[in-house]
Symmetry: C2
Subunit: 316 residues, 2 copies
């Protein structure tokens, strides 16, 4: 039950030898997603050992080149790799027009569909879900319409304690009913509450991507309780005027967002090329929020399974 974020790029708009444009790869229960897709993302995926064909969906925060220039090259390569499965792309408008123009000039001979879903950057909405996970948009404050994304595991179905099945000799029908949360009536007339038989296998985990943005208390509120918060920290506090002017955050503001969000951990990234050493940015954030790390490109950050306190008080 993996929940892993791999950092593919960590630079702001001007890349360096060490830092590439924004892209995160997500692995949630062995289903793969991309958040942002800066230039060279397909190369970073290969370097990280992630098969590009496994990507189910791409979530683009905004239409600045450093967050999206890698998408058409990736799509083109997926075509060469023989992809047949549709690729879902979530991005603000007018990404539909950009896509249309692109395929007008570049015949990629795709055998799969690029399914575009416009993201309303003013709304906090459920965009995508599968059996185990939901993805929500999170309105951000940047120079152009921008959305963050919240990836959240769904509350998993109830499990029945194996010991309870044996002790009470539960039938299949009774197990199914217990999993639905129903009360179970035994042959001897004993009635068992679901709490006595069942438990949640794990607590839902979550990851939020808030980039690019000014500090937003509202966005922090929308991801409250998040396990892993990625927040941009383009600038140091000393350059806060520049941050405000360009619609970006300082490391201190990223920490402030982590506090407001009651996040468990904070990852900062999207560093301006002006900082050769980003240690001061990390230190600046840690003063307010000690559980801060500066992202390292190529590194995978796992959110460990949180074993749920058994829902039932069952003690065999």
């Amino acid at each position: 039950m993996t929940f892993r974020i791999t950092i593919l790029g960590s630079s702001a708009a001007q890349p360096s030898v060490k830092r590439h444009h924004a892209a995160h790869a997500l692995n949630v229960h062995e289903q793969f997603y991309l958040v942002d897709c800066g230039e060279g993302t397909q190369s970073r995926l290969l370097e990280a050992g992630i098969n590009p064909l496994k990507i189910n969906a791409v979530f683009i925060s905004h239409l600045h080149g450093d967050h999206v220039y890698g998408l058409f090259p990736l799509i083109s390569t997926l075509g060469l790799m023989g992809r047949k499965t549709p690729l879902e792309v979530f991005a603000p408008r007018p990404f539909d027009e950009i896509t249309e123009q692109h395929f007008r000039y570049f015949d990629c001979g795709l055998e799969f569909e690029v399914q575009y879903h416009p993201v309303d950057t003013r709304k906090h909405q459920l965009l995508y879900e599968n059996k185990v996970m939901e993805v929500w948009s999170v309105p951000l404050r940047h120079r152009i319409p921008t959305s963050g994304y919240l990836f959240r595991e769904k509350t998993p179905p109830l499990n029945v304690h194996k010991e309870a099945i044996v002790r009470y000799g539960l039938s299949i029908a009774q197990i199914v009913a217990a999993k639905r949360g129903e009360r179970i009536l035994l042959d001897d007339g004993t009635e068992l509450a679901p709490e006595e038989l069942t438990y949640r296998p794990y607590e839902p985990r979550s990851y939020a991507y808030l980039s690019d943005t000014l500090y937003s208390a509202k966005a922090a509120g929308l991801v409250r309780g998040v396990d892993l918060l990625y927040h941009e920290a383009t600038f140091a506090h000393t350059d806060r005027a520049l941050a405000r002017q360009t619609g970006h955050s300082t490391a201190q503001q990223a920490a402030k967002a982590a506090i407001a969000a009651e996040a468990k951990r904070l990852l900062i990234g999207h560093f301006s090329g002006r900082y050769k050493d980003i240690t001061p940015l990390t230190e600046e954030a840690r003063l307010l929020f000690p559980q801060t790390e500066a992202v390292i490109e190529g590194q995978a950050y796992d959110i460990a399974v949180k074993s749920s306190i058994p829902h039932a008080t069952f003690h065999p």
Copy 2:
């Protein structure tokens, strides 16, 4: 008097961890040029220690994504770097439309002009020149309109032997006249032929980029005598049917082109991802043309100055 080709990318359309999309950087007398600009070219430039701001002009062979996807990201970064100097871009049509569409959706806030020059891929024409170099188009045979490029040093102006200046006590006016190739009349009535006073400082060097293309005797003829021929070798001879079908060359055909062009050296590249080891391709080409090398990404290939045989028979 540098004449250096740095290989920034060497893969065919599907890149790998080791091989990136097509791009060559040229340094001719400390003036810099790009030939093709696949995804990630700006990162490769940084890795190679070439300042992107120094690029004067970009020559795009054809409008397949793997040869051009890196150009807008590069242009965008040049904008962030504060470039003011125009960037000249040579590419087949409709690159003008693609550029127009791009800037419609991506406001790069450029303070420099992108000067587009359409390349007629059916013609062998002089496209660009400065004091020391000319660039010519070379029609190629690919699935879409494609042009190769020939970079050729101009014949340098005549130099006057220092010893001759001293021996004959030449005046400034006489030196200038000698450099123009005129006969010089000395005060004592002696007349000196230009051959007696002057020499060419070096022989013009040349580099040709022929990619992507089927074997073309015509293209080889147009670059006859080239010092360094880069020719695509996407496939091995065993896959020649595939080469024909996709409009590409085999390593053997690249060698054949080098022979037809009477090239001094051959570099092969644009390797299909199917070959994990490209040694067999190099060997295949060397059977016909021993002076073959497979390009290595990040490596610089210098064409040494060819000292001219003194034009004059002057012996001090």
